[in-house]
């Protein structure tokens, strides 16, 4: 919901409710259970499914310094259940700040880029068992038309897997299409 809008500034709030079903194939527990008990029992199922609910509220803003440069910020917080059964649910936040650059005004090429940094406690299955994630992102977008958008984003995600490796980095590439009506 948009709250404030001026020529160069926009501020909005949001509510987001999400439900997920997370299924894990736990090979380690399953194989050990078979060896220990000699059979597959309800105590060592290979599949484990749990729901994960998330209800968060957010504030979002954008401020345009000039036609070529803009700052976008995002802060969300609320109730979030972990993707790991062993972790309890609770309050979690997520925040991102990014600089959006439109190169059309500078070099005449209809390409926009953005660079940003973020911090996330709200769990995603991407992150495994970790509780906190920081990430850096870099996005390219075709801006030659206002009716659709083609973009590519690269993210470098830094997290930890409890009891395994305290410093895990992941590179994620994403391709997106957006159609505006």
């Amino acid at each position: 919901m948009r709250v404030v809008e001026t020529e160069n500034f926009s501020f909005a709030t949001s509510l987001d409710l999400r439900n997920s079903d997370i299924t894990t194939i736990n090979l380690n527990r399953w194989v050990k259970g078979i060896i220990d008990s000699g059979k597959v029992s309800s105590k060592n199922p290979p599949l484990d499914t749990k729901p994960a609910l998330r209800a968060v509220a957010g504030v979002h803003s954008a401020y345009t310094f000039n036609p070529s440069l803009c700052l976008v910020t995002n802060l969300e917080g609320g109730y979030a259940e972990s993707s790991s059964r062993s972790k309890s649910a609770g309050f979690a936040i997520s925040t991102v700040a990014a600089l959006s650059t439109n190169w059309d005004h500078v070099i005449g090429v209809p390409v926009g880029t953005s660079v940003g940094i973020g911090y996330r406690q709200i769990p995603e299955v991407d992150d495994g068992t970790t509780a906190e994630v920081t990430f850096i992102l870099h996005r390219f977008r075709y801006t030659g038309t206002e009716h659709f958008s083609l973009g590519t984003q690269f993210s470098w995600v830094f997290s930890s897997i409890q009891g395994v490796d305290p410093r895990v980095s992941m590179i994620i590439a994403a391709q997106d299409m957006k159609f505006y009506y």
Binding site: M1, R2, V3, A12, D16, L17, R18, N19, S20, D21, I22, T23, T24, N28, V31, K32, G58, H60, S61, A62, T64, N66, P67, C70, V72, V96, A98, S100, N102, D104, G108, T113, G118, E124, D126, G128, L137, R139, R141, T143, G144, T145, E146, H147, G151, S155, V157, I161, G163, V164, I171, A173, A174, Q175, D176, M177, K178, F179, Y180, Y181
Partner: protein, 152 residues
Amino acid sequence: MFFAEQTNRFANSPVIRQSGLQFGLTAEIPLGAVAQPALDASVSVHKGLRLGNHIFSLPLGILDPFVRTVTTFNIRVGTTTGIDFPIFKVGENIVVAPRGDLVLMSILARQEQKIKDSISFHAYLDVVGRLGTNVSSLLSQGVNTQIGYGIG
């Protein structure tokens, strides 16, 4: 400048309220040859995410302060850059593969619908899969899938 020409063309275009796919078709036809509906003044100035004459390149995965109707599809793939896994013992055998990786893939479809000038509604569906690439990472992290949906 190229940008100025683009901007003026869109600002004056009578097909500004049509979808991106429809625009792709009508753009091939001279505008004078088609029936031109009146331009609605209430059409969002954020079509294509514009504010202060800046066209945004917003990061994926975050909500933004703009209210408009937009359909989004995205696909992600990712990999870790090497994880040190513990040594596993399965029965009498020790599985030694101290380093391994996890790979990730996801797809998402999302629709945001503008209800009023300042309010929009969104719904989405995503599927995520994450699994190890060798014995140690499979034993440690298993195979994880997530099917999620949300509204807001």
